[in-house]
């Protein structure tokens, strides 16, 4: 695909692009230059399988994705309409066989995404030249494959991918050290190697070997050296960025370290897209809907547009549709701020009728949603703006697993429960919170991780297999401290056998408050 040549946009599509871009700019959207490329269904599926980057490194899971996408497409179960890459310039792919109406809609939608990528704070630290960077990653890994063999490299990538979600998504925004020393290479460290020479007693020359016996000195030096290593491998506090810890301390070969760093870098690049799924899709849908219904549609497009739009917004009882939730919440907020339904007066108003008819004509809606798209992610978006009225309107409910009957059932339609559940699912991208506590556990160079238990246990078989992969990376036994059956448990894997030890003490469930 690296050699793929894309034709320039056909004239009718180029015309539409000019129109759509004009409308989008007219509404105040501010986006990267956006390049549209028309591709066949097969190519689109392939590009989508690679996460949007045709030059990505080789790996079987992309083949698996492709298999699923193309099977789904062939059997008419699913179809990708659009694919857009967070990059400057922003690349977007259009499916060749789509009708003009679809292409219009997709372009309007893409300008929404492009604006979001450029302006949303959570994307601000992502690499905007990722197209080039990923191609570079691809080449590096391909080179390792040529040199060390596909099996070996792939096996190692599999192990790395097992821990790819163990990153610290907030770290790009936190300064943990002083700026001055942060990125600068510390030359002095190399010039003056750390001093491990032990203290000596003052003694006359002829007495020296008795007062400061050489073998004792040697042992002392050894001890100091080990203590220094120990310091280095024992972080002050828990380290969320497990991948970084592995990069710095695991005994890896140079190529392995490089592969691990590539996978970590890509994980950080993709993380904000996971953090802003609802907002991102909601924002893009809001704009395609606004642009299409106000300006973009020709009479002949209407039926097809409605068909497509309502298909995208379809709701399900088992899976929230981020497009639907996002667009509706943006509209709800716009309406509230247009009518001035916020602030002290509104919140404290007890008169339901007055509240229902509340309209100060504030007209701040548009301004508000632009502000939101700049500073929020899904978690804070839902936390700040989900309201009781909205939940009612959208018929949201909270469901849970019924252990007796072994199915999922609707548990509640109460607002606080819905909101708590939604926030729960979004916190840490719905994944357990795992951090490194120590890299030299029991002074035996073993890796010790901790799971911040908040009432939900780890999936045990998955945890065991993940530890097997972790052990491959770390080279020494690994341990995870977690809670099973309300008891503090340490899961261990020593390279051949899994074991667990449980303490007798019951663990009080940490109550998370919202």
């Amino acid at each position: 695909m690296a050699c793929a040549k894309f034709d320039p946009l056909p004239p009718e599509l180029a015309d539409i692009q000019v129109r759509m871009e004009g409308y989008a700019r007219g509404h105040g959207l501010d986006f990267f230059p956006t390049i549209f490329e028309v591709v066949d269904a097969d190519e689109l599926n392939a590009i989508a399988a690679y996460g949007g980057f045709p030059t990505r490194y080789p790996h079987w899971r992309f083949g698996m994705e492709y298999e699923q996408l193309s099977k789904g497409y062939v059997y008419g179960l699913q179809k990708i309409y659009e694919l857009v890459i967070n990059n400057d310039p922003c690349y977007a792919y259009l499916m060749r066989c789509n009708g003009l109406t679809d292409q219009k809609l997709v372009m309007a939608h893409v300008y929404g995404h492009s604006d979001f990528f450029k302006n949303n704070h959570w994307f601000s630290k992502t690499n905007r030249k990722m197209m080039d960077q990923i191609a570079n990653h691809g080449n590096r890994i391909r080179r390792y494959v040529d040199r060390f063999g596909r099996e070996e490299v792939e096996d190692f990538i599999d192990s790395c991918l097992s821990v790819e979600d163990l990153i610290d998504i907030h770290s790009p925004f936190i300064k943990r050290t002083d700026d001055e020393n942060d990125h600068k290479y510390d030359f002095s460290a190399d010039d003056e190697p750390e001093d491990f020479s032990p203290g000596r007693f003052k003694a006359k020359d002829y007495m020296d070997r008795y007062v400061n016996p050489p073998d004792v000195l040697k042992m002392e030096e050894q001890r100091l050296r080990e203590a220094a290593e120990q310091r280095e491998r024992s972080p002050d506090g828990p380290v969320r960025d497990v991948m970084l810890f592995l990069l710095e301390h695991a005994p890896l070969k140079t190529w392995q370290r490089d592969v691990l760093s590539i996978i970590r870098e890509e994980a950080y690049y993709f993380a904000p897209q996971g953090q802003t799924k609802i907002m991102n899709e909601g924002w893009a849908s809001y704009w395609h809907s606004t642009i299409m219904t106000r300006q973009g549609l020709d009479p002949a497009d209407v039926i097809h547009y409605c068909d497509h739009h309502s298909g995208t917004m379809a709701t399900s009882r088992t899976k929230l549709n981020p497009y639907k939730l996002g667009i509706e919440l943006f509209r709800h907020i716009e309406d509230r701020w247009n009518k001035g339904r916020f602030g002290k007066d509104f919140e404290e108003c007890d008169d339901l009728v007055a509240k229902h008819e509340w309209d100060t004509g504030a007209g701040l809606g548009r301004e508000k949603i632009f502000e939101i798209r700049r500073i929020h992610n899904d978690l804070t978006f839902i936390d700040t703006f989900l309201t009781l009225e909205f939940c009612r309107e959208q018929k949201l409910f909270q469901f849970g697993y019924n252990n007796d009957f072994e199915y999922y059932e609707i548990e509640s339609r109460e607002f606080p429960k819905i909101k708590a559940q939604l926030l729960d699912n979004l916190t840490n991208r719905g994944q357990p919170h795992i951090a490194v506590r120590e890299g030299n556990y029991k002074n035996r160079g073993e890796l010790f991780l901790e799971h911040h238990y908040n009432g939900v246990e780890l999936k045990l078989d998955y945890a065991r297999d993940t530890m097997t992969n972790l052990q491959k990376l770390w080279g020494r036994p690994v341990h995870v401290e977690t809670v099973l059956d309300d008891k503090l448990t340490i899961l261990s894997f020593d390279g051949t056998e899994h074991s667990s030890s449980q303490s007798e003490a019951e663990v009080e469930e940490e109550v998370t408050s919202f």
Binding site: K277, H304, R317, T318, Y401, N402, I418, P432
Partner: protein, 369 residues
């Protein structure tokens, strides 16, 4: 443009095959894991194709959904097969991938694993038959084939764009040009040129468990032979003291009682190949399953029938003897004494239990004839 993705795809497929290879024994003996879906699709759950991560277990699973329903209404079944509810904002998280494998692919895997040789068919002219498939759309055709939805949509679109659509009175009148009709294409389907004749002993000594063994083994034999021939004709014969030809369902579900006369089944088979499945036109495979219990003097009759009528006509004659708590199990040794290594196309196999099916299939089909 050579797509890189093809390399990754074939890599993935190889891994999938590897998984199946590892578990093949299990599949063969637990065929309930395999379902024929539609015409020739079978879906095999291949666990653990996604890489392990630290994940939450089931005890806290829950989420938010949208729609109608009372509290306590079930919304989805709960086994951990990835059909459970997903979470907003997370990636689509299917935990176990259902890999659809066509029977052809499955047969290939079976062939690879058992190292089965390709079958050389006896050279026969193949008869090709034309069939119609309704799979396309055109703008003319008989009213009985009109595609209502497409016609309606086209008319609606025309009315809206020409401004004759009135939302207050949404009446859609299709013109001649709006009408869309289903249409067919003709495909060539080759006629069957291989026949499998199954014979089973259903006398009182054959238990349900033994029929299960027969059924599982037949499924895999079917799969393999169907991958080797364009069409396969299957015939079923059951016998106790007397024999008759039956349909597939009856074959697997009948339980009769009474004595056993194997020669009766051979007679029915012999008349079948005389009247319908002439050996000059068909590649014929016989599979006989029994617990090996036969009436004393009948074995001689059976052996001579087998020698004179069946073996000369057959590509392959396989006799599988399942172990039974009741039967004497003598028949297989009678056959061995009578034939020895005389006939290359006669294969005998003893199937002790479900786990032995694997080896039995290998024995039956390992010669490639």
């Amino acid at each position: 443009m050579a797509m890189k993705i093809e390399a990754d795809r074939s890599r993935f497929k190889k891994i999938v095959r590897g998984k199946i290879r590892e578990n093949l024994r299990k599949y063969i003996t637990h065929e309930e894991m395999i379902g024929r879906k539609g015409k020739d699709l079978v879906s095999i759950p291949v666990p653990k194709l996604d890489l392990p991560h630290f994940r939450f277990g089931n005890n806290g699973a829950g989420g938010v959904g949208q729609g109608d329903g009372e509290i306590g209404d079930p919304i989805a079944g709960g086994d951990d097969d990835g059909n459970g509810p997903g979470q907003a904002g997370s990636d689509p998280g299917a935990h176990i991938l259902e890999v659809d494998i066509t029977l052809a692919e499955l047969a290939e895997i079976l062939g690879d694993t058992l190292e089965l040789p390709r079958i050389e068919p006896k050279g026969k002219a193949r008869i090709v038959q034309e069939k119609s498939r309704y799979s396309s759309i055109r703008s003319t055709g008989p009213e009985s084939l009109r595609h209502f939805k497409r016609t309606y949509k086209k008319a609606l679109r025309r009315q809206i764009s020409s401004g004759t659509y009135d939302p207050a009175r949404p009446r859609i009148i299709p013109f001649r040009e709006d009408r869309q009709y289903r249409s067919w294409t003709t495909v060539n389907v080759p006629e069957a040129n291989a026949a499998i004749i199954y014979m089973m002993d259903v006398s009182g000594s054959m238990t349900d468990e033994q029929k299960e063994v027969v059924r599982t083994e037949s499924f895999w034999i079917d799969t393999w032979l169907k991958s080797q021939y364009d069409g396969v004709e299957c015939r079923y014969i059951i016998h106790d003291a007397a024999a008759k030809e039956v349909d597939e369902h009856t074959f697997y579900h009948t339980r009769e009682s009474g004595g056993t006369r194997i020669s009766s089944a051979y007679r029915v088979a012999a008349s079948l190949i005389e009247k319908e499945l002439r050996p000059e036109e068909w590649n014929i495979y016989f599979f006989q399953f029994s617990d090996g219990d036969n009436w004393g003097e009948d074995s001689e009759d059976s052996i001579s029938l087998l020698r004179d009528k069946l073996l000369p006509a057959a590509n392959l004659f396989c006799y599988g003897q399942v172990e039974s708590p009741y039967g004497s199990g003598e028949y297989i040794s009678s056959l061995e004494t009578a034939f020895g290594d005389e006939h290359e196309n006669l294969i005998l196999s003893e199937i002790e239990d479900k786990d032995a099916i694997y080896d039995s299939i290998k024995k039956f089909l390992g010669k490639g004839i």
